[in-house]
């Protein structure tokens, strides 16, 4: 298929449909609503299920029910909506059901803004719902990557009987870029052996998130964990740019990562040996790639559209082996490449290790900018 222009939100909706999505449940919220609107016309056209729930709580529980029957199902929302879905996600994780959630992230906390943000990192990557569970979380940086990731996420969710989250900065949902759509898959006809479909006289199957016997619950928790270890082994994804001879590395995902790419190119043009590591899978986190970067460079600069959430994961991996600094914009503000370039130039001029926590030092630098 040839490339066409797609808006991020509509592109991921079409990609999910092409992956054989059978049932979509959702509730409108900016900056995600175009996806729901797109689904509302395309799904019935194809004889599939579209339902606008009464709230995000309703939507996630409808997804829960549909997932129990073994169909490909998903929802999409934006940050405040994901908060409402957290209970349902924990139940779905405990019931070991595959499903896909697209979170088009906006600035928070609270009702916040409708502007792009990465403030849901902790909620998604480290689990906002209760209990030990491990969703797969991917963060695309453009429309084509969004299409490819959403298309593949259903397979991953089913392979690991896991929640697949695509964390899309509001900016990616709202932008238009050329993208090539993957082929339209037929809706799956086979039913997974664990699915509950009703019918008397068949084997009894039970799907539940409650198990009052702690010994049984402990076994289930271990099963989830061992499955997660497989995900960590198989599903790490990242992209690298200009890293070959880099002495400074930027680590940034999604929109922050691609803005950093502009800054890296400008710095390279000025002769600064800087590269970029852009994690695509946030969970599983690209631990080995970060370790290798840490072994290669003298300085790492983590760039995010939050106050340093992925920064903590980078620090945990780097373990003080190289100097890590941070630059972020918060509350729904996107950084300009010039801001990141200035950080690169500052580090290149004084590459000696920093004295203090990178977040504290960033607060000192950013406060006058924010209060300007």
């Amino acid at each position: 298929m040839a490339k066409e222009l797609w808006k991020g939100n509509e592109a991921f909706a079409e990609a999910a449909i092409r992956a054989g999505l059978q049932a979509y449940f959702g509730y409108p919220i900016t900056p995600q609503t175009e996806a729901l609107e797109y689904m509302s016309s395309r799904m019935p056209e194809l004889g599939r299920v579209f339902l606008q729930a009464e709230s995000e709580l309703g939507a996630i529980n409808m997804v829960y029910g549909a997932a129990c029957t073994g169909v490909r199902t998903m929802t999409s929302t934006s940050s405040p909506g994901t908060s409402l879905m957290m209970e349902g996600l924990s139940y779905i994780a405990a019931t070991e059901l595959p499903m896909v959630l697209v979170d088009v992230v906006r600035g928070g906390p609270g009702l916040g803004t409708i502007s792009p943000s990465q403030g849901d990192y902790n909620q998604m990557v480290h689990g906002g719902g209760h209990g030990d569970y491990y969703p797969i979380v991917m963060a695309p940086a453009g429309v084509q990557e969004t299409v490819d990731i959403v298309y593949g996420m259903f397979d991953l969710a089913e392979k690991y009987r896991s929640i697949g989250v695509v964390m899309l900065d509001g900016s990616i949902g709202q932008m238009i870029e050329p993208a090539e759509m993957p082929p339209m898959l037929e809706v799956r006809k086979d039913i997974p052996e664990w699915a509950v479909r009703g019918g008397s006289g068949k084997d009894k199957r039970i799907l539940t998130s409650i198990n009052l016997d702690p010994a049984e619950m402990e076994k289930m928790n271990l099963r989830l964990l061992k499955r997660w270890k497989e995900v960590e082994k198989n599903e790490v994804r990242f992209a690298e740019y200009y890293m070959d001879d880099a002495k400074i590395a930027i680590i940034g995902n999604g929109t922050a990562g691609r803005i950093a790419l502009s800054a890296v190119r400008a710095a390279r043009a000025a002769g600064i040996p800087v590269g970029l590591l852009r994690p695509i899978s946030l969970s599983p986190f690209p631990v080995k790639a970060v370790q290798e970067v840490a072994a290669q460079v003298d300085n790492i600069l983590v760039v995010e559209m939050n106050a340093g959430m992925m920064l903590e994961d980078v620090l945990k991996v780097v373990q003080g082996k190289t100097s890590v600094e941070f630059y972020g914009r918060i509350g729904g503000v996107m950084p300009y490449p010039e801001e990141i370039l200035a950080e690169i130039q500052r580090i290149a001029a004084n590459p000696s290790p920093i004295n203090g926590h990178p977040r504290d030092l960033w607060i000192e630098r950013i406060e006058p900018v924010i209060n300007r």
Binding site: T30, T113, I114, M175, I259, V264
Partner: protein, 180 residues
């Protein structure tokens, strides 16, 4: 190669549409393109804008502090974005909606009475295409034939009968700026 165009005006002036035409045209030339709308606090005051980044390599930032070109459809847009045009870049002003001259001297200022020229074609909503025609005639960011193809692709269904008049508007804008 990379160029960025920021198009700004009131809602209803075809700002987002003009950006989409550019995006279609860039795609026709096998270039990378990112169309990025302002939404959220940027939109206060009823102004709309979008940025179109066109490049021959993977596009980084979707928003730019100093775009190569700004199309200002009205006075608030001129006031807000004149200072942001990259040195040596292009500032297209819809003089029909603006009561002052540009202040910058280090950029190409293209003054076009877009709304008046559009009215000569019978529809003042064509001002956006007039201004884009003027910008592309001077900047050569995109080829005229790819813009024509883009208009065919972005005006479909009931809007398809607007293709020819938009082509005329583009040419009128180009002719106007060349004759100056």
């Amino acid at each position: 190669m990379q160029n960025e165009t920021l198009i700004a005006g009131f809602g209803g002036q075809g700002v987002l549409f003009t950006g989409k035409v550019m995006a279609h045209a860039a795609m026709a030339e096998n270039l990378q393109v990112t169309w990025f709308p302002s939404y959220g606090p940027e939109m206060r005051g009823g102004t709309a804008n979008c940025t179109v980044v066109i490049s021959d390599q993977e596009i980084g930032s979707p928003q730019v502090r100093q775009p190569r070109a700004v199309i200002a459809m009205n006075l608030p847009s001129l006031d807000k974005y004149e200072n942001q045009v990259a040195p040596g870049g292009y500032l297209v002003i819809n003089t029909s909606m603006v009561n002052r001259k540009a202040k910058r001297e280090d950029i190409h200022v293209l003054e076009v009475p877009g709304t008046e020229l559009a009215e000569e074609l019978g529809d003042k909503r064509l001002a956006n295409s007039i201004l884009l025609g003027a910008l592309l005639a001077e900047s050569k960011f995109l080829k005229p034939e790819s813009i024509e193809k883009a208009l065919e692709e972005s005006l479909h269904g009931k809007k398809h009968d607007m293709v020819d008049i938009n082509k005329k508007a583009m040419k009128k804008g180009a002719d106007y700026i060349k004759s100056k």
